[in-house]
């Protein structure tokens, strides 16, 4: 999918919603997001900074720290070592 973005920094372009489904999963009709895992840390930081600068005027009420957190998460490609499951080490105690 050519999004015009740098490799590995695909922030998700939607292709359409609510289209009738095919007999199988609606692979060709739903949203498509691709994640690649070949981006240098420097390129990611530059992309993050530029994207944050562009978005802040559009989201003036959003906490800058939250925006950083979300953009960092969105920019991070699948396969880059992200953890998201909490583990229960004993009843009522979960660790990340």
């Amino acid at each position: 999918m050519d999004t015009g973005r740098k490799p590995g920094i695909d922030l998700g372009r939607e292709k359409g919603r609510g289209a009738p489904r095919s007999s199988e999963y609606n692979l060709g009709m739903a949203h498509q997001v691709s994640a690649q895992a070949e981006t240098s840390p420097r390129a990611t930081v530059e992309e993050l900074t530029a994207t944050k600068r562009r978005l802040q005027p559009l989201l003036p009420d959003m906490d800058p720290g939250d925006l950083d957190l979300i953009l960092t998460s969105l920019l991070r490609p699948f396969g880059s070592g992200r953890r998201f499951f909490l583990r229960e080490v004993r009843p009522g105690v979960r660790v990340f």
């Binding site: 489904r21 994640a35 998201f84």
Partner: protein
């Protein structure tokens, strides 16, 4: 870069879904994670279309993931597969918020993950479900999920 055990586990579940042909959508917090939301979770939720064929495939899914599906409690029809990395919960036909399998699938997001295809509930639907669930742990995630959706919409603007 190397994949974490969590990412590897998601790929293992996707491979098992592919192998069994189970009609299922990734829903819940993992669906949100796969769409870029910075949240954590305790399990991987799948919404399954409840048919006799899919019930059989659930047994195969359990075999692929190394554990037999079991009932979570007598008060619910949710099944759980206690996989090594995290529990996989299987929900049937609908989610809170009167979200049917068909409706969720028609709005689903298809994500390519390292060569595997994940069909996941849209972030909008994940939010709707968590709003309707009435559970504090779901409501606690709503602010960051809504903000993630706002950021994604802002990013989509030219």
């Amino acid at each position: 870069m190397s994949a974490s055990s969590d990412e590897a586990f998601v790929l293992e579940v996707l491979a098992a879904l592919e192998q069994t042909g189970l009609e299922a959508l990734v829903v819940g917090s993992v669906a949100a994670v796969l769409q870029g939301s910075p949240v954590t979770t305790q399990d991987l939720d799948l919404l399954v279309r409840d048919t006799p064929a899919n019930r059989q495939k659930i047994e195969m899914l359990g075999h692929c993931l190394g554990a037999r599906p079991r009932e979570v409690s007598s008060l619910t029809n949710v099944l759980r597969i206690d996989a090594a990395s995290a529990p996989v919960d299987l929900l049937f036909d609908h989610l809170p918020g009167e979200l049917s399998f068909e409706a969720l699938r028609s709005r689903s997001v298809v994500i390519d993950l390292a060569g595997r295809t994940a069909t996941v509930a849209s972030l909008e639907d994940v939010i709707l479900c968590k709003e309707a669930s009435g559970r504090p742990k779901d409501h606690a995630q709503l602010p960051i999920l809504r903000d993630t959706l706002r950021v994604k919409k802002a990013l989509a603007k030219p």
